[in-house]
Every structure is written in C-alpha cells, then in structure tokens.
Symmetry: C2
Subunit: 186 residues, 2 copies
DNA sequence: TCACCCATGTAACTGGTTACATGATTAC
DNA sequence: GTAATCATGTAACCAGTTACATGGGTGA
C-alpha cells in the first residue's frame, strides 16, 4: 500500500483557493488550517517543485518592485483532476493521533494522585485557551458578514475543533474529580 | 529546542508495568494504547538497544523450550529516574493532530453538497464503530472486577477516547444537517 | 539600529513505516 | 499443508522539522 502523502493535495487546494505563492500558502495554513494541518517551508518548496515536474501546476516567475521576486503557481487540468479524485476518494482510516499527554497519564499509576490531578488541570488550562482562540476566530468570521457563504467550510472545520476541545475540557473536569475524590486518596 | 522523542519513555513505562520483551511491549501497545500511541518493531528493537547502551535498561537473554529465544529487559535505577523526570515534566503543547478528513472537508467548497454530506456520513459511521469498540473494552474492564483499582488509569485514557469520539459523532450530525438543509441546496 | 515582513530555497537530521529475513511450534 | 503465534532484527525508504543562507523594504 502506497504511503499517504496529502501535502501535494493541500497545496493544490490552496492554489485553487487563490493562494499562488509558497509564501502565501504557508501564511494561509498557519492562520486557518493550523488546528488540523501544519506545514514547513522545507516541505512546501520541494513539494511545489515536484508538482511542477509532475505537470499538476505551472510556475511563473514574477518580478516585483520593492519586493523580492516570487513564483506564481497555477493549477493545470491534470492537477484539477488529481485534486478532484483525491477529494472524492473515501477516507480509509480515522487518524490516530499520538497523544503525549495521555501517554503520561497512562503511566502515572505510581505517581501521587494530587500531582497527577494538577497535571490534568494544567492541560485543561491549555485546552481552555485553545477553545477561546477558536471562539475568537469564529466571532471574527461572523462579524465579517459579506462572505458568510464562502466561509462556511471554514466554519465546519472550526466547529470540529471547538467540539473536540470542549470534550477534552470536560474529560479533564471529570478526571480531576476522580483523582481528588477523598475516599480514593491514600 | 530538543526534539521530543517519547518512544523510549513509553518503553520504560511498559517495562515497569511488567512487559519484558519487545514482542510483549508491541502486543500491549496494539491492544491497549492503540488509540493514542502506536509503534512498530522497526522502532522498538533499535530503541531497546539504545536504552541498553544508555544504561536505562538491562537485557538478559533467555532461552525457552519450544519457543524462540527472547531478551528480557529490566529497568535500572537511572532508567527509573529518567522515567520519573519525564512523568513530572509538564507538557508544553497539546498535540495538533493532522486530520486528512478535515482537510478534505475544507476543500470541498466546489463539490456537490450532498456528496460531501455523504462523506461526512461515512466518517460518522467509522466513528460510531470506534465508539462501540471503546465501549466493549470498557465493559470488559468492568466485568473483570478484581483489578478495578489497577485499571483506573487505563479507564481514564479510554474515557478520553470515548468523549472525543462522541464529540466527533455529534459534529458529523450537525454538519450533515447544515449540508443537506433544503434552502441551502442549489 | 534593530526587528520584522516579504520571498525562496537547501542540507542535515529525526522519527517512523514497510518490507524483508529467519525459524520453530501449534492448531485446523 | 498452511496459517497463525512467538520472537528478533535490519535496510531502505518516506515525511517532516530545523537550521541555515540570501537579501531588499518598512517602521519604531
């Protein structure tokens, strides 16, 4: 079975969404796909080069005044077909995220219950911050009413982030209760 | 900043939990940590070798009748300290899982709404299966009453899995509704 | 002056998977 | 006879990060 490399499709998707340079794509990902997709320049530029060689995109150098030169990418017909095929192909497996925090919790049996509870509290705090950040982004989408239809899919993914973060916060609450329950303390 | 490699700590944790061979550790991870940690033999054996060289574990060859030879690992004092330090050290960042499914959803703007809804339905089905699997494991822990205290931390991580899966299922429901809402169909 | 934004790119490295090799025993 | 379980290991590969290099413009 061939290894799944979705990076090229992410880039193709961004090109069709109007992001034409590697720099722009990186900005977009950092700003908006951040909670479910990350990428580094060390991946973007070689990947764009490869896409050009495959014929899925074309690159055009463009000189700018007062700014460095840039390369503008456009999707080709083959690229569009490839993206389409990828979009239609069903997801085989749900991603099994590695979770360092849960790994620690799992091995905390020998640790003091109260300090484990404290760890969970810290984690909960981080989740709450993340949740607030999502809410803030959501508010800024809603405030900018003119593109309410355009941002719909963005809203979907954000909602996913919000819901799973909230579930995490609730888990922390329940787990802290269990860890600090008086009868269970040694 | 040094790269986080938690694999050795996972192995140390498993050794302290009584799993002494690479094979046993792999079995355990596949069975019980599966939803938040994965590992392959290609990682386990070199990693155990490295741990031996570092002096965090000791290896002892043990011949068996009717079975292949195996190596039994034990944790050293230095290993115990290293594990302890790792357990106490706070998690810096919450893992940002890459999610192929959300990536597709994000780029589905040009697709037909109903076929996107169908995709979400498929995903929801997968989540439901996962949820049921978690529930079944949970039941089997509860049924085996003698070790109710021992399995507490196992229960915590399982509960996390259940809650986040349930949140995902609910998101699917809400998203399908939005995608198939009659007024929104073109 | 110093930091930050724009803009592209490479080399070295790390973490991890997959495929392969070996070989005995047990259960169908 | 053939598949599964037990058991260890390596080599090739792949995906991705980090650090580095370059260099002009903008604003405090």
């Amino acid at each position: 079975m061939s290894r799944k490399n979705n990076t090229p499709y992410a880039l193709l998707g961004l090109i069709t969404a109007g992001y034409r340079t590697g720099y722009d794509m990186k900005q977009m990902i950092d700003r908006s796909l951040n909670h479910f997709w990350k990428i580094s320049y060390g991946q973007i530029y070689p990947s764009l080069k490869h896409l050009t060689e495959t014929g899925w995109v074309t690159a055009e150098a463009s000189a700018q005044e007062n700014k460095p030169d840039k390369k503008e990418y456009r999707i080709t017909k083959e690229g569009q077909e490839a993206l389409q095929t990828w979009l239609e192909e069903p997801i085989k497996e749900i991603a099994a995220e590695k979770n360092e925090f849960l790994l620690k919790i799992f091995f905390s049996k020998q640790q003091d219950r109260l300090s484990t509870a404290e760890k969970v509290r810290e984690y909960q705090q981080k989740l709450k911050e993340r949740y607030d950040a999502y809410r803030a982004i959501e508010q800024s989408i809603i405030a900018c009413k003119d593109n309410s239809r355009d941002s719909e899919y963005w809203f979907f993914t954000l909602d996913y982030g919000k819901r799973s973060t909230r579930a995490g916060i609730e888990w922390c609450e329940a787990t802290i209760s269990r860890l600090t329950n008086r009868e269970d303390l040694d």
